[in-house]
């Protein structure tokens, strides 16, 4: 089975928003609910990866990324997320390190 590919710009929004749905549209919470959670369960079941492409949006706020990746790690486990999620970004390669940080420190109060 092939890896699951998700492009935030194409599959969700080119204007990613805040952390929670109550804070505004296209939040990290909304992205997890609508797209990532199901894909993650499927990937974990089948032993495949999810490749998340960050390119093509106008930019990301810290809490969107922290809620998506750090939040997923809090719900599903840091090790599970690290072995299942692969992040790619040609436009902003430094975001990959930022996201790794959010996952690693997911269980610290933020």
């Amino acid at each position: 089975m092939d890896n699951i590919k998700i492009s935030i710009a194409k599959d969700f929004s080119i204007t990613p928003g805040p952390r929670y749905k109550k804070e505004g549209p296209f939040s990290g919470e909304e992205f997890k609910e609508k797209i990532l959670n199901d894909a993650f369960s499927k990937a974990l079941e089948n032993g495949i990866k999810i490749v998340v492409d960050l390119d093509g949006t106008i930019g990301y706020g810290t809490s969107f990324l922290e809620e998506v990746f750090g939040g997923l790690a809090r719900e599903k486990g840091i090790d599970n997320v690290k072995k299942t999620i692969e992040v790619i970004s040609n436009e902003e390669k430094y975001l990959i390190d930022d996201i790794d940080d959010y996952i690693t420190h997911a269980n610290e109060k933020h």
């Binding site: 204007t15 505004g24 106008i58 706020g61 809490s63 109060k109």
Partner: protein
């Protein structure tokens, strides 16, 4: 490609400076010594110490020395000009980044409504520019300046965090910002911390410029 060009191509600018300086000084001291002796004492004539027989080998050696001095000086001067031009271009880029970042960020902060998407777009552009500049500076071996620009990226990221990071629901941390309907409201302490980081960026840029000039 001439032999002289091949010889001087890979020599560092500073080393060339030293070589040519030493050559010219030695040559000047040699000429000056005999001219001085000639004028100091009437009894001392050049012919008493210098064999005035013209040896073709000596003339050739002298000519080669003079040609080498002129050629290397010319090459060195061109190399120094090129290095100066590279430094000036990098410095201008860094200063433009700083001025643009301060201006755009202050416009955002002084807006009546601070839109989250406008903030994220601003920071995407500036982090990309800063990273491109850092890579360029690194390619030209300005290592100290490269390190300073990398620390600037941390400051830019800190400001982005201050403007776009709301705490988790379970957190007891005091919110520095509140986001509602995609718009940001800043606490005054957060605004102060952002301005402090902007000042740190200005200092960091100054440090990077000094490092490039010193290289």
């Amino acid at each position: 490609m001439t032999i002289l060009h091949m010889l001087t191509r890979n020599i560092n600018g500073k080393l060339l400076n030293i070589i040519i300086g030493a050559t010219l000084i030695a040559f000047g001291v040699f000429i000056g010594f005999y001219v001085l002796l000639y004028f100091i004492t009437a009894q001392f004539t050049l012919s008493s110490i210098v064999d005035l027989t013209l040896d073709p080998t000596d003339i050739l050696s002298l000519l080669v020395t003079v040609v080498l001095a002129v050629y290397v000086t010319g090459k060195l001067s061109k190399k120094n000009e090129e290095e100066r031009a590279e430094k000036d271009l990098l410095i201008e880029d860094i200063k433009k980044f700083k001025d643009g970042f301060s201006k755009d960020l202050n416009e955002v902060l002084n807006s009546s409504v601070i839109e989250l998407t406008r903030v994220t777009a601003t920071f995407k552009i500036f982090r990309m520019k800063l990273n491109a500049m850092t890579n360029l500076v690194g390619e030209y071996d300005f290592r100290e300046a490269e390190a300073k620009l990398k620390s600037l990226d941390e400051k830019v990221r800190d400001i982005r965090d201050l403007l776009t990071d709301t705490p988790q629901v379970s957190s007891t941390k005091k919110a520095g910002i509140i986001i509602s309907a995609g718009n940001i409201s800043l606490e005054s302490e957060t605004r102060y911390r952002i301005e402090s980081n902007i000042n740190d960026i200005a200092s960091g840029v100054f440090g990077a410029v000094v490092a490039i000039n010193r290289n």
